[in-house]
Symmetry: C2
Subunit: 192 residues, 2 copies
């Protein structure tokens, strides 16, 4: 199943404040397809934060059912898919009234999502060989992980309806051991 | 064939001035792999231009043998592969002593290349389902194509040894009709 072609660029609010879902135009032809995955001018005009990326990461996931998360990082992310398809799940882990709010959506190459600092990010691949790509506005380091907030993928309060049961999913050892929501320390607003 | 894992980040000069080839560390595990595809601080320290990307493009190529190029654009590009493998070919189309210089290299997820403004860019996919991704430091527009310099993929002077003969390759109609080197107007240095 390929991406939906030729949708106009569009931005949609979600139930989590600051999380914005994008439709991306994808141009198909005899060779395959082409997309502007991030375009600062057009997307800022459409409602994307001018977030100033300094790093582009790619994770490749061998099999359908590979699941990563839930990680709230101390920087913003603009996430999309280069090839394949994922079920994405986001949980607000910021201190405040929306703590614990959940949003899920399927992402394919014709969609992208902006995830602000402090919102927990996770995904499960729906196809073998899925390449997940994202831009972030601060440099990762092994030490920066001390500022991550983690939530267990199986948390009963968030109750994410994973398409493939976590028992059958490929996970990292680290991701098996994150705390439940009641034990999470919410991310405090950035001191300025 | 997967990418080569765990090479340290390294930058190498090429025969074309300003074209720099990178080895990228790729971290493999039970899920697949993860890479920092672009990391401003580390890569600038390693010798990458601090080129200030404003756009990230992805082209998906259905079949091995899909060939795109040769396009010299009026901005810089940092190119890599999300999944699959390409044979890349670059021809200097800038006014000056290196006009016509050629460099070719295979790119997989563990490599990247910086292509400055005015150097012609082309690639041929070596695997079905190859996702090619790049960052550029100016916004594309249909009008900006007037400032592109094009060279024919089959140019006899550049004499690129395409792994799959162009007669068997998937091309755009536009790319079949670019001029030979003798008919190319070299890209003039940017007026400042
Ligand atoms: C995030 C990151 C990780 N790494 C290295 C550390 C590990 O050797 C390897 C994989 O890191 P992990 O922390 O296991 O990656 P993963 O569980 O996929 O999680 C990261 O990548 C996910 C996407 O794959 C994001 O949704 C998460 O927020 C992010 O934390 O890559 C880097 O070299 N640079 C990075 O920026
Ligand atoms: C480059 C570019 C193209 N497009 C649109 C125009 C077309 O509808 C479709 C494909 O454009 P084409 O010009 O045929 O793309 P392609 O031949 O692949 O060439 C572009 O993409 C190549 C990589 O695929 C680059 O190596 C070339 O330098 C670049 O010009 O995407 C955009 O919407 N934004 C862009 O930035």
């Amino acid at each position: 199943m390929g991406p939906t072609f030729s949708k106009p660029l569009a931005a949609r609010e979600t139930p989590i404040p600051g999380v914005v879902l994008f439709d991306l135009p994808v141009h198909g032809d005899n060779r395959g397809w082409f997309k502007e995955n991030w375009q600062r001018a057009k997307m800022t005009a459409a409602g994307l934060d001018d977030f100033g990326p300094v790093q582009n990461n790619i994770s490749f996931n061998e099999t359908a059912g590979t699941t990563r998360g839930i990680h709230a990082e101390p920087w913003d992310k603009f996430i999309s898919v280069a090839t394949g398809r994922v079920f994405g799940a986001w949980v607000d882990l910021r201190e405040g009234p929306s703590f614990g709010a959940v949003f899920t959506a399927e992402l394919d190459p014709s969609t992208a999502i902006f995830i602000p600092r402090g919102v927990g990010n996770a995904f499960q691949t729906l196809e073998d060989g899925t390449a997940y790509t994202y831009l972030v506005n601060d440099h990762w380091s092994a030490d920066a992980q001390d500022q991550y907030v983690f939530l267990n993928l199986a948390d009963e309060t968030a109750a994410i309806a994973w398409p493939i049961p976590l028992a059958d999913a490929e996970l990292s050892e680290k991701d098996r051991n994150h705390p439940r929501l009641a034990d999470v320390t919410p991310l405090a607003p950035r001191r300025t």
